[in-house]
């Protein structure tokens, strides 16, 4: 027996064929025990009040950022377990780790969770954590709306995640195309869960888009003109503008499917001259800008990380901004490349194929800008920088295969094969996930006040990146050899066996990387390496001029910005005392008050959604009335601000040595 066969055999022994029920019951019991344990802990330690005051009702963007981050990491775990189940199923031919129905459910939740409930909140976590600080603002433009966004997203995520234990998981893929997503072919409530959870989370996402667009445009510190903004703030601005126009078509696509399923409309059923292809069209009007919503922030993060760890100003700032704008503009006009095979005709296909290829140009510009920033710089191989170095080759491969897929005639071969699977994992994992992980390690000290252990983090990085390449490179070849996506199993003798085996091994390596990352976080929390300077990386932008973590009002005095990389300029010109306040100049600061309204509103959405999922319309109406009541309460109650008096500000700042004597 060869080594490979032996490992496959071992995996099959460890994970025998399952029927659906027992593992779900096991997870249900585990979750219940976990929930009870948390409640007991909170009660015994008398932490309920703390939880309510400090977290559940907070409107502070820094805390909301932390909550987004925690949610995203939990969802990364959930989606990752789904991925491992998929890869384990495919470890060898005729594997029956799962049945076909369960396999469908697992890849559906994998995709949905990873895109909507892992990548999006991770991006929003970093926006919340960094953007207001780097533009010199005391908060986002609409702090309470920010909390509403988070809670609506969180309840949407809960809605999707309870589906497998209450009522059944969705199984129509993350794109959920009709007619398979229609009632006739997909009875049960699983698909309803999908529709409602994305609908609810989508409302929160649109609100976040509005919030950060206005924040970046209106909340900048004096002197920070657009041309002096850090690139991450630019990417937040452009991402938000994409969110504004990408999510409404998704709302419509999901809404119409829901009307078909629950109320007997005829949009996507062929019987009454409906057209399933219209769903596909609407979905990708959303779907393509969505992938740029995911990648733009990563571009922004790398544009912060590279200059800091090369000790050089960013090469080609204007070209960076210009290429971001160009990509976002082009991204509105490429969506048909997801369905060239639909038969819209050569004119349509050629137009969208060309517009897709054009995107490679501004993206290439960005690649060269990062490389030229590093060129001749003094590079420090810190963990954020390692992620960015791994990103460059990964994303280039992903981008190049993307151009291959954009060639219309060739796409008839690649479409929905593992080639395409490998391509989009290359750009979404290699781009977005590497990017947000780089950003997480970069801003972690600013968010929490302590640093993550670099050695462990490097090991996590090594396993994750190596595992990534081992997982996805074989999939390109699997695709070229004809393996299509969403196959629950495959026969022997097609030449797929060994490539699949390697791909599965790679996914296990990534899992090891993730486990080390979790260990790294827990270990570093237990042995904290406090960041006392507030500037652990010798940073360039304004967030590093603040203590870590920043006080609730962020800036005791709002800086007057004179140059790009203002904090770097302050350090070079010996102006770092500018951030200090003096006893006679300190002013009281107004901050928004905590509010219970956001979580109440989100809970009402949740109740209403459950009602819709199970077609209990009395409950849906109850939830709707709850939403109106929460909004009315929020409108009638005076939304007053809390005033932090000058003495308190002075005391807080003095404790951090930031008062001029």
């Amino acid at each position: 027996m060869s080594m490979r066969e032996w490992i496959t055999h071992l995996i099959k022994l460890l994970f025998p064929p399952q029927v659906l029920l027992p593992d779900i019951v096991g997870i249900d019991i585990g979750l219940t025990v976990g929930a009870i344990a948390i409640m007991v802990y909170l009660t015994v330690r008398h932490r309920w009040g703390w939880l309510w005051r400090e977290w559940l009702t907070t409107v502070d963007h820094k805390k909301i950022g932390i909550m987004y981050l925690i949610a995203a990491l939990v969802m990364l775990f959930r989606g990752g377990v789904d991925a491992l189940m998929i890869r384990t199923q495919l470890i060898g031919p005729r594997a029956h780790f799962m049945g076909a129905q369960q396999y469908d459910e697992v890849f559906t939740t994998h995709g949905t969770v990873m895109i909507f409930f892992m990548a999006m909140p991770m991006v929003f976590a970093l926006f919340n954590a960094a953007v207001p600080l780097m533009i010199g603002a005391r908060d986002v433009a609409f702090p309470r709306l920010n909390a509403i966004s988070f809670w609506i997203f969180a309840f949407g995520a809960i809605l999707l995640n309870i589906s497998f234990s209450i009522g059944g998981s969705p199984s129509a893929g993350w794109m959920s195309y009709p007619p398979y997503s229609e009632l006739a072919y997909n009875p049960g409530v699983g698909e309803n869960y999908f529709l409602l959870s994305l609908q609810v989370a989508g409302i929160g996402t649109i609100a976040t888009g509005i919030n950060f667009l206005v924040t970046v445009l209106r909340m900048r510190a004096p002197g920070m003109s657009l041309s002096k903004m850090p690139i991450f703030a630019w990417s937040a601005l452009i991402t938000s503008s994409l969110v504004l126009f990408a999510f409404p078509p998704l709302t419509v696509a999901l809404g119409l499917t829901m009307l078909d399923r629950l109320f007997g409309a005829s949009f996507f059923t062929v019987a009454h001259q409906g057209m399933p292809m219209m769903y596909v069209n609407l979905f990708w009007i959303f779907g393509h800008p969505e992938v740029y919503i995911l990648i733009m922030p990563a571009f922004g993060i790398f544009s912060e990380v590279v200059p800091v760890f090369s000790r050089k100003a960013l090469f080609g700032y204007e070209a960076m901004v210009g290429s971001l704008l160009a990509i976002s503009f082009l991204s509105y006009g490429v969506w048909v490349h997801h369905f060239f095979e639909m038969g819209a005709g050569p004119g349509v296909n050629v137009f969208f194929g060309l517009s897709t290829m054009l995107i490679a140009i501004p993206t290439g510009v960005k690649m060269f800008n990062w490389l030229f920033t590093m060129w001749g710089g003094r590079i420090r191989l810190t963990v954020p920088m390692l992620w960015q170095l791994a990103f460059i080759p990964t994303f280039v491969v992903g981008g190049a295969t993307g151009v291959m897929l954009a060639a219309v005639p060739a796409d008839y071969q690649y479409h929905n094969s593992y080639f395409m699977i490998a391509h989009f994992h290359n750009v979404i994992v290699g781009g977005t996930v590497f990017g947000v992980l780089s950003g997480m390690y970069y801003w972690w000290p600013k968010m929490f006040g302590w640093k993550l252990n670099q050695r462990q983090a490097t090991w996590a990085f090594a396993f994750f990146v190596a595992g990534f390449w081992v997982t996805f490179m074989p999939q390109y070849f699997l695709g070229l050899e004809g393996m299509t996506r969403r196959m629950a199993t495959y026969p022997a003798g097609l030449g797929w066996t060994s490539l699949n085996w390697w791909s599965t091994m790679g996914s296990y390596l990534m899992a090891v990387g993730f486990l080390i990352m979790v260990y790294n976080i827990i270990w570093s929390r237990l042995h904290p390496d406090w960041d006392t300077t507030g500037d652990p990386w010798d940073g360039r932008t304004l967030e590093w001029s603040l203590p870590s973590p920043a006080p609730e009002y962020n800036f005791a005095r709002i800086p007057h910005v004179r140059s790009r990389d203002e904090w770097w300029a302050m350090k070079r010109e010996g102006r770092t005392d500018d951030v200090k306040i003096s006893a006679d100049s300190v002013q009281p600061i107004h901050v928004p008050r905590n509010s219970a309204m956001p979580i109440m509103l989100a809970a009402a959405f949740f109740v209403g959604s459950i009602g819709m999922v199970f077609s209990w319309f009395w409950m849906a109406i109850l939830g709707g009335l709850g939403v109106v009541a929460a909004l009315a309460y929020g409108s009638f109650a005076d939304y007053s601000e809390l005033t932090i008096d000058a003495a308190h500000v002075l005391k807080t700042e003095a404790a951090m040595g930031r008062v001029d004597s």
Binding site: R220, S225, M277, N281, A344, G345, P346, G347
Partner: protein
């Protein structure tokens, strides 16, 4: 982008400067609601004109839809300009470029969707 020169002129922050010249705000102020009445009369006239075109078949069908759409856009512009105080803002009127983008994307969604869903396939 100007703004570079304004650093030392005690900016108030929060985007109070006009960062892009043509996005300067303009406040509506008039002692008598003449603007509103004009807008109302015009919108009524445009609506009735469009209705008349259809009801009395004043135009051939081919050009009718185009004319109706043009009238609709004129009326939308009236609503925006007169009733919605389009250029009122503080600092830079940042909502104008966003609205322009909305118009661009909105027309794109409708136009492209119609084009795509015509299925004028030659060879596929």
């Amino acid at each position: 982008m100007d703004g570079e020169e304004q650093i030392d002129t005690a900016p108030t922050g929060h985007g109070d400067e006009v960062e892009v010249g043509f996005l300067a705000p303009r406040i509506h102020a008039a002692p008598f609601p003449g603007m509103q009445i004009t807008g109302y009369v015009l919108s009524m006239a445009l609506t009735l004109a469009a209705f008349g075109l259809v009801a009395y078949h004043w135009l051939p069908l081919s050009s009718l839809v185009t004319v109706i759409l043009v009238l609709a856009f004129i009326q939308a512009a009236l609503q925006l300009g007169i009733f919605m105080h389009l250029r009122e803002a503080r600092g830079t009127a940042w909502h104008l470029p966003v609205l322009a983008l909305a118009l661009f994307v909105g027309l794109g969604i409708v136009g492209f969707s119609i084009w795509i869903m015509l299925f004028k396939s030659g060879v596929s």
